[in-house]
Symmetry: C2
Subunit: 375 residues, 2 copies
């Protein structure tokens, strides 16, 4: 393991890249999918099974953890890695996105965002400095600057105003990070600018001037649709520093991820495999199915008989159907496990295809198998 945070590219194939991020807590193979462990647990999963699916890193949510059990409590218990029994890398978000989507009575100022907890109504203030302080208390290996993440569509002048605020917060975040962080931890800047090419370029230029070891692409997957998201990536990633990892935040479904890798993205997180698994949706090579549908009530076949994942291989669709119909814990447990394994297999397949110079064939096969038209 490296004592420093670093990124090395192993191969490129068109805009698609494969490489390795090294951190003191382990390596992250890219393109990487990070399962979301919102409140210190990847929902309905044992942490050893998360690892066994092929995950090198998980994501923790600053907003949830700062409210419960609190960052100070996690720190006093030895940090988030020890708390959740995951010794491998952890990325945390800044908390800003979920403050805006989940909390009550939020108010955004130059200083930061004040809000009331959705859990108990308690009042909090999240500033760039406080977000970094929390992420350092958690012990996060890859941290995010506080940013504002407006929905699309948004008018150009408002998008620029918001983007410039995020840039100022990036500067403050970096200063706070330099004070509080441990060696080998990394802070990423977040590119904003909605779906405006000039604003994305301006955001990127300003962030690269400040200088970060990795850059996130924020403000996408906020309702703009897959085609529009891909269009934004196409005019954004070519201008990003090729030597630094590129993280597309909150994305996505398999076709989103494959398409974003094809457009030069290295890192992803999304609740899709875990949330949809809890609701009975299984991602398979042939696309997504809803296991609760009556057609599966007598289906003796597993989701994937050739899978290395017990959840995919050892239980019939009829059994999974029954578990969801009966409201049993085991249904979400098995389908989440299956979905995370599917996602990690997808990432491994992309890494291998890029390394072999056959990524366009991989994409063509993905289209053919899943029936996805926009990839």
């Amino acid at each position: 393991m490296s004592a420093e945070f670093s990124f090395a590219l192993n191969a490129i194939d068109g805009p698609a890249r494969t490489g390795v991020i090294s951190t003191p807590r382990g390596e992250i193979r890219t393109p990487a999918f990070m399962p979301v462990g919102t409140a210190g647990t990847v929902k309905a999963m044992l942490v050893d099974h998360v690892r066994a699916t092929g995950a090198d890193i998980v994501l923790g949510n600053t907003y949830h953890l700062m409210l419960r059990p609190t960052a100070e409590r996690v720190a006093s218990l030895g940090g988030l890695h020890k708390f959740m029994n995951w010794p491998h890398p952890i990325l945390t978000d800044s908390g800003g996105f979920q403050v805006m989507s989940l909390s009550k009575l939020r108010k955004l100022t130059e200083e930061g965002v004040s809000f009331q907890s959705h859990i108990d109504g308690s009042k909090h203030m999240l500033t760039p400095e406080r977000s970094i302080e929390i992420q350092c208390l958690l012990g996060s290996d890859i941290q995010m600057q506080l940013d504002e993440c407006p929905a699309i569509p948004i008018e150009h002048d408002k998008a620029r105003e918001s983007m410039l605020l995020s840039v100022r917060w990036a500067e403050r975040s970096k200063r706070a990070f330099e004070e509080k962080s441990q060696p080998g931890q990394a802070l990423f800047g977040i590119v904003q600018g909605a779906n405006y090419e000039d604003l994305r370029r301006e955001s990127l230029d300003k962030l690269m001037e400040i200088g970060f070891p990795g850059y996130s692409i924020g403000g996408l997957a906020v309702g703009e649709g897959r085609e529009e998201m891909f269009r934004v990536l196409e005019f954004t990633t070519p201008h990003m520093d090729g030597a630094k990892p590129r993280y597309l935040m909150g994305v996505g479904k398999p076709a989103d991820i494959v398409g974003a890798v094809a457009r030069g993205v290295d890192m992803f997180d999304c609740v899709a495999p875990t949330r949809s698994g809890r609701h009975g949706q299984a991602w398979t090579r042939a696309g997504a199915i809803n296991i609760k549908n009556a057609q599966f009530s007598d289906d003796p076949e597993p989701l994937d008989p050739s899978s290395a994942c017990p959840a995919s291989r050892d239980y019939s669709k009829a059994y999974l159907h029954h578990l969801f119909r009966a409201g049993e814990y085991l249904g979400p447990m098995l389908l989440t496990w299956h979905n995370l394994h599917y996602y990690q297999e997808l990432m491994a397949g992309m890494r291998a295809a890029i390394a072999a110079g056959g990524f366009s064939d991989f994409v063509a096969q993905f289209r053919a198998e899943t029936g996805e038209t926009i990839v």
Copy 2:
């Protein structure tokens, strides 16, 4: 593995016994605790982990399975073992107890019991013959006769009337079982008679005349209290065939089980470890604790640092507390796992103590550690 159902005692220590039940699907070490897998799953548990806790056998509930997904569907999918991916022995109840406790508009006659499903209101009739048919469709290794299980207190004449009905149903069950069962499967008769010594004796005499490879003690743990249950066992087990396994149905908490083993019982099932685990109660060597209590919010110690069970060893009480406060799946998953491991360790400890002739010391230590006064 044996092609026959058989029971061999290895050691006795006072009334306590240890031995092995052999079935075509594997051996069951006694005293045995059978985790309850109501609807084809031990709730919130992966089946491999159920096995790893030391469980030789699990229980399935005929009432639940006959309603959903139906016994016929389970049979068409290859039987309950294959359905739930548990190749080891399975015991099923007759369905009668849960018809009386869960269903609507039930009516009991000499023929059987008619009822409406609590799930969809559909009408069903459970007779001794139908119960055996269902248990054979499920492929159960150890089956139970249909019986009536009245609550205590009950008047003597009503208790005798009910007990005699159960005896007549035992005869009908045995005839049906002889027609429908597979080699190596076993049917147990169920001793009834409430808390009346003469009725328990009469029930036992009549059942032994019919002849079964094992005998269950029914109608206990229905509100009579631990002392009264032990009193009934004390006048019942001495008259039971010592060469046959004795199964105390629906029991119980650790102190119930230790006390019942001390009174000659070999087999147990109970939802206590699984249900209480889902609700935040953890059984430990020092007794039960509620992990949701505020005192555990900062407790860095695991439930049992010396345990072989990951759930007991690898997560702090503070983390478990957090998971329950946050309503995370992983809380019930880990606490159920811990509790089942605790129960199986308790059974293993009793088996070893009986084999070594030190069971009274074991009981004394259990009393001292848990503070239980009635054991």
